[in-house]
Amino acid sequence: MVLQAIFILVALFTIGCALMVVLHRNLFISALFLIASFFGVAVIYVLLEAEFIAVAQILIYIGAIATLIVFAIMLSRGMMTGRTSPRNAQALWAGLGSVILGIALLYVVAYRVQWPVVQKDVPADAIARLGSALVGRYVIPFEVASVLLLAALIGAVMIAREKEV
């Protein structure tokens, strides 16, 4: 019961923050709500007993991605004066479509599918298993991801670098 109550609170918090992210006019505030929403998602991960991912979420999403986003917002600061609308012409249609899609998805999730759920505990050595899986069975995806990161690192530096005059 307590868990369920916590889940509902966290879920509402997360969804509310996410809504503010897409609705708020001020981009900086949007980004702050994004961080809050990331935090909520991290708590959801904890509720799923994936503590490692939760901490990784905080470390990477809040510590790195959100910081980068805020940084980028500050660097393109002229954009936030609010002279123009933050939304484009199709926002209404997009909203309508999103709502319908959301309702359809919720309907499917709630009524249409019987997921094969098993009642099992997360093994105590889940993180150790994750570690050996990353360098064992999933070593190729892991390596590909690291190459991707390297490429992104170099690419980002090259793109954002100011041309030497």
């Binding site: 484009n88 199709q90 249609w93 997009a94 479509g97 999103s98 319908i100 899609l101 359809a104 998805l105 309907y107 499917v108 249409r112 069975r137 999933y138 190729i140 995806p141």
Partner: protein, 713 residues
């Protein structure tokens, strides 16, 4: 040793990486890297190939494999890797060997080009693609390497698509042509590849696997043959047929079959070694290889209702004759060969279409040898013409007056080169004889005869006679080419000053000439009188092992003199007629056939106007569509509607002003305008260049699909 399988494609790739990253500055090291890596791949390849040759049944039943888990997909893990069975071994005998020879040849041919290193980097990358493709043990990996070849082809066709300052050997027009040709090649083959990708996705959806050993297993094929799909327009067909035809489209694009053949002749803008390697011997035959590889999928549906085989046979036969006739009326030495390649690939598809698996593989192999030889020979000729042109200019022979513009590829300006460059000439003639199927001694004769015999034996008379006529035409244009280039008198200063090419170019020619003649002897049928007893159909029994492993029946054809004699007559007759027209008397700058044949000649010379047709239809349609959508509201719909309605409304209002309130009319007019405006705006959304609009379309589509899904199921 099996673990080293991956090295065969990996070594050239390593060479590519090293050249691009490090040795780009040093031409010698770059060429050395590529050639060295290919040489090692060649040795490794032959090791595996000969293992298969010595134990064909064992290897066919239990291919040499190297497989690793690639990525987990749902409930299973997608394995990928390389394998060598008999079919791969046959290709593995040919591909790295040809690569090696042609790379050596390129050292001489490309000498002095400022992008020498880059050329070798691309070649190495291409070798990776081709070797990986033939070794791949599943369709997805094969497709990746297939696309890699496509990229290399694009890069190499457009190799001279820009000119560095101070480069003299290419002119502006050539640069433009190279650009257009590379884009054309890329886009045309993409059409086939996209259809093939669809086939691949469907295949995966149907079978849950893409490994050859699993999708070609008899039980899987049975399942595919039994399941029926009904489609709009095309009607009802088994899944196997649908998948086979979809995959065949990939081969049509890659092997330049009608209607996607248009890119290959233009691809001759690339350097000649590229034409030899990619656009004659290996990449274009990859399409044939793919169909040979997936042959059980084509073959599984019962004969009679098998429209996949019928389709393959039709395309192949039609292309064989179609391209051969165009070849008669070309003047560019390489274009003749290009059309000949298309035609010969058509032969192979025709063979596959009538079920002649072994004959197709045999012709594929032989064709690779003699066509590579012909291209390299033509490269040597062009090289010589280039130098001759240069020399004649330098020595003040000055401006000769030619009725046509100078072009080193133009056969009308050649002639009499036999004495100037004997090695090139004799090897070229050997290749030409092989191509035209000169009886008994040449490789081309044996492989072509095999196809014709199969067609005769199987009772496919239309196929047989079309191919026989194509054989005659082939012999004719080959003879025409040989007589125009090497015999008679030189018809330009350049031809007078031509001289033999360096050793690095002629040695590969000689080696290839040996293969172009002698390689065919391995496939002399066992039943052939006299000779057959010596060879005992070695190649046939080799491939037979592969067929048995695929659970397909394979029979030794009884000897039949009729197709043999027809084939011999066609070959010798074609050459003889060519001699009558082109060899007997000195030639001018106009083709002796052009006048008597008139319109037909024009049709051939202009390639049946297929290019123009595409320009007028496909390309124009695409442009028109773009224009249409852009202009839709502004010009054609809204303005007339608004104007018309407005005019009508005003007249109407003038007539009945007293009776009807002006407001209503105004509203109708405005409302109509508004409706058309909204409509126009909406239609304009289709092509706005803004990703968000497209995403909205995706959102709506997905939503509709999900809602429909809820409603239906």
């Amino acid at each position: 040793m099996d673990g080293l399988l991956f090295l065969i494609p990996a070594l050239p790739f390593l060479a590519f990486v090293l050249i691009v990253l490090f040795t780009n500055q040093d031409q010698k090291v770059s060429a050395g890297l590529t050639i060295g890596a290919t040489a090692v791949s060649w040795l490794l390849g032959w090791y595996f190939a000969f293992r298969a040759f010595f134990d064909p049944h064992g290897v066919a039943e239990e291919p040499i494999r190297l497989s690793i888990p690639w990525f987990p997909g749902g409930y299973s893990i997608f394995y990928t890797g390389f394998q060598v069975d008999v079919l791969t071994a046959v290709m593995l005998f040919m591909v790295p060997f040809l690569c090696f020879l042609i790379f050596v040849y390129s050292v001489g041919y490309m000498e002095g080009d400022p992008r020498f290193s880059r050329f070798f980097a691309y070649l190495a990358l291409f070798a990776t693609g081709m070797l990986g493709f033939i070794l791949a043990d599943n369709l997805l990996l094969a497709f990746i390497f297939w696309e890699l070849m496509g990229v290399c082809s694009y890069l190499l066709i457009g190799f001279w698509s820009f000119r560095k300052p101070g480069e003299t050997h290419i002119d502006h027009a050539q640069v433009k042509r190279a650009r257009a040709a590379s884009i054309k090649a890329f886009i045309t083959t993409r059409v086939g590849d996209t259809i093939m990708l669809a086939g691949m996705v469907l295949l995966y959806a149907m079978t849950g696997s893409l490994r050859w050993s699993e999708i070609l297993a008899p039980e899987t094929l049975e399942k595919l043959a039994d399941k029926i799909v009904s489609m709009p327009v095309f009607g009802v067909a088994p899944w196997a047929t649908v998948l086979a035809i979809l995959i065949f489209w990939g081969a049509i694009g890659k092997s330049a079959q009608f209607p996607l053949h248009v890119w290959l002749p233009d691809a001759m803008e690339g350097p000649t070694p590229v034409s030899a390697l990619i656009h004659a011997a290996t990449m274009v035959s990859a399409g044939v290889y793919l169909i040979i590889r997936t042959f059980p999928l084509f073959h599984v549906v019962a004969e009679g209702s098998n429209s996949a085989m019928w389709f393959v046979a039709f395309i192949g036969t039609f292309t064989a004759l179609f391209a051969a006739t165009i070849g008669i009326a070309q003047f560019d030495i390489k274009r003749v060969l290009a059309y000949s390649t298309i035609s010969q690939l058509g032969y192979m598809f025709a063979a596959l279409g009538i079920g002649a698996y072994i004959a197709a593989a045999f012709h594929l192999l032989m064709h690779a040898f003699f066509k590579a030889l012909l291209f390299l020979g033509s490269g040597s000729v062009i090289h010589a013409m280039h130098h001759g042109h240069h020399v004649s200019h330098e020595h003040g022979h000055g401006h000769e007056e030619l009725p046509i513009e100078f072009n080193p590829n133009d056969m009308r300006l050649m002639g009499g080169l036999l004495n100037k460059m004997p090695r090139t000439a004799w090897t070229f003639i050997a290749g030409g004889l092989s191509l035209s199927g000169f009886p008994l001694i040449t490789a081309g004769f044996w492989s072509k005869d095999e196809i014709l015999a199969d067609a005769w034996h199987g009772g496919h008379m239309i196929v047989f006679w079309t191919l026989a006529i194509a054989a005659f035409v082939t012999a004719f244009y080959t003879g025409r080419q040989i007589f125009m280039v090497f015999f008679g008198q030189p018809r330009s200063e350049a031809a007078k000053h031509a001289h033999e090419s360096p050793n690095s170019m002629t040695v590969p020619l000689v080696i290839l000439a040996v293969f172009a003649i002698a390689a065919g002897w391995v496939g002399i049928p066992e039943t052939f009188p006299g000779l057959g007893a010596v060879v005992r159909g070695w190649f046939q029994s080799l491939m037979g092992a592969q067929l048995e492993a695929l659970h397909l029946e394979h029979e030794t054809l009884p000897f039949n003199a009729a197709p043999l004699l027809i084939s011999m007559t066609m070959a010798v007759g074609g050459l003889f007629v060519a001699w009558l027209i082109y060899g007997r008397k000195p030639l001018g700058y106009e083709d002796p056939l052009a006048r008597p044949l008139g319109g037909l000649w024009q049709a051939w010379h202009n390639k049946y106007w297929v290019d123009e047709l595409y320009q007028a239809t496909v390309v124009a349609f695409a442009k028109w569509l773009a224009h249409f959508l852009y202009n839709f509201d502004d010009r054609w719909v809204i303005d007339p509607i608004v104007d018309g309605v407005g005019r009508y409304g005003r007249r109407f209002a003038g007539a009945v002003r007293r009776f009807i309130d002006e407001q209503i009319i105004d509203r109708i007019v405005n409302g109509t305008a508004w409706v058309s405006n909204v409509l126009g705006e909406f239609l304009r959304q289709i092509q706005t260049g803004q990703a968000q609009n497209y995403l909205l379309a995706i959102l709506i589509t997905v939503t509709v699909l999900i809602v429909l899904g809820i409603g239906v199921g």
